[in-house]
């Protein structure tokens, strides 16, 4: 059957185009401001195409110590967090995918309960503090190492693998770790890729735990620094430690918007890879046993 566009199709396409435009326009504007001299954007005489191009903002940021340190911190936190989260989530989810494992239901219940009830912000803070993690990267990484949702999704993937597979390996005399490492994990590439990217996004975007657990601003990842950089123009910085003075003095709209762009750059870079998997990954979570 040949598709014939009706007025109905046209209206739908137009509305979706408008919505997509509403999503894209802010990005284009941010990019344009970051490449414009501050005077231009404050006078507002362009919208998405700069009148005069300049790389000042980027060369400034790439030479600003505070900014580079925060990028370094973010990279470390993202790397640590991703590796740890993958390890903790995969091992636990794998064990829980084994229906013959005594105690499995109890463990599932213990994990599931954390989805509907939790101690809250202050008790979490006290635990992190009592473990002596304040001002260390671990304070950001450890409390976020996994979640009930992650475990459920990864587990349901493992359960979808044929059981006969590891039984065959067992007959051949392979140990359980060997089975996981050389048979199950290679077969789980899609789910591992999905979660690697999810965890990377999660830790790169980490903001609040850095604010409350890292008093030493030299340990700050990029998100809290970005918040202070942009909040200056909104004149609503709260009582927290201010950014370093030289950075604050040089903040024009171009620098602020360049910082916004650099803070989302890794996300925009992994997004095309993420995109291939996430719809499926997100759906796995809603499938019930």
């Amino acid at each position: 059957m040949k598709l014939k566009a009706t007025w109905f199709d046209t209206i739908i396409v137009v509305i979706i185009c408008l919505i997509s435009l509403l999503v894209i326009l802010p990005f284009l504007y941010i990019i344009a401001v970051s490449f414009s001299p501050p005077g231009d954007s404050m006078a507002g005489n362009f919208f998405i195409w700069p009148k005069h191009w300049t790389l000042d903002a980027y060369s400034y940021l790439l030479n600003a110590n505070t900014f580079l340190t925060s990028v370094k911190n973010s990279v470390i936190i993202t790397a640590m967090g991703t590796v740890l989260s993958l390890f903790v989530s995969i091992t636990l989810a794998y064990a829980l995918s084994k229906k013959f494992l005594p105690g499995r239901r109890i463990m599932l219940l213990v994990i599931f309960f954390t989805m509907i009830f939790h101690g809250g912000m202050i008790p979490n803070y006290l635990v992190v503090k009592n473990l002596g993690l304040i001002d260390s990267y671990w304070a950001v990484v450890l409390p976020a190492a996994s979640s009930a949702f992650n475990i459920m999704v990864i587990r349901s993937f493992f359960q979808s693998l044929p059981e006969s597979l590891d039984e065959a390996a067992r007959i051949d005399g392979a140990g359980e770790f060997r089975i996981l490492y050389s048979i199950v994990l290679p077969l789980s590439k899609p789910i591992i890729a999905t979660f690697t990217l999810f965890f990377m996004v999660q830790f790169w975007n980490e903001f609040f735990s850095a604010v409350i657990y890292l008093n030493d601003t030299m340990r700050w990842p990029i998100q809290p620094l970005l918040r202070q950089m942009v909040a200056i123009s909104a004149s609503n910085i709260s009582a927290e430690a201010a950014v370093d003075a030289s950075l604050a003095a040089n903040l024009g709209p171009n620098v602020q918007n360049a910082a916004i762009l650099l803070a989302m750059l890794p996300i925009v870079m992994v997004y095309p890879f993420l995109q291939k998997y996430f719809a499926k990954g997100a759906m796995l979570g809603s499938i019930k046993e």
Binding site: R227, S235, N257
Partner: protein, 302 residues
Amino acid sequence: MQRALRPKRFHQLWPFYLLAAPGILYFLTFHYIPMTGLILAFKEYSPFKGMMDSPWVGLDNFRQFFGTSDFYMLLKNTLLISLLNLIIYFPFTIFLSLLLNEVRLKVFKRVSQTIVYLPHFLSWVVIYGITISFFGPSGVINHYLGQWFDGSANFLVSNEWFRPLVIFQSIWKDAGWGTIIFLAALAGINPEQYEAAKVDGASRLQSIWHITLPGIKGTIVILLLLRLGSSMDSNFMQIFLMTNSLNLDVSNVFDLFVYHVGLEQFNYSFAITVGMFKSVASLILVLGANYAAKLLGEEGIF
């Protein structure tokens, strides 16, 4: 035969327990030990005496909390934001799903989905930064307001604009992402129904009304109940960033209050009391939502 292949005895099972151990240890340390901290809600925490030896005060903290006007303000602000999300953001997501579902050109559909999913992956700080670029005192909106209408508005520091901005941010960030689950439900509708309707002379709008919407009714009900169940939770990160001393009357929600009282004023016991009230109320709402789902003949959330 089957049985021999499955590990049954402890010497065969220990590898699985060893694999589970780090994860279980994580959940106990960072999810269950904090729950023990909730007893501080019934104590007057003294940093010198520690958690165990601080004196009991019974329900004093709760009495104090419910007795203040803060309680009603927090409840009102929290519920209002949830309610507005429920009546604006939620239907918009369904609307967007229906639109995307009606697109017949596959390439166009894929491209537009890619675009509308993207903001979901940005941090709230980035969204906040973009918001300032647009709605800040020297933002582009104010610039054009000044140019065209001879005026400006203090969007970020006013009570009136706080809620509209927050709802708009939520839609911009997550409405696209929210369509995934509806689109999956829509894909499950039997295409024969549409063909039959077409033969009967139904228009596209009529088939949406009589086939598509009833087809995703179950999903809508479940997601709606889930949202109702979490209406005590505001999107804390978003609110935290958008709040300031000038819009505190409308932006102060439970989580924010807990942060100010606990981590800025170091009044742990009182902050935990507020947090605990919120957690318990949430638990009741979630369980209630699940019960309601089952009453409506849906499968329930768990």
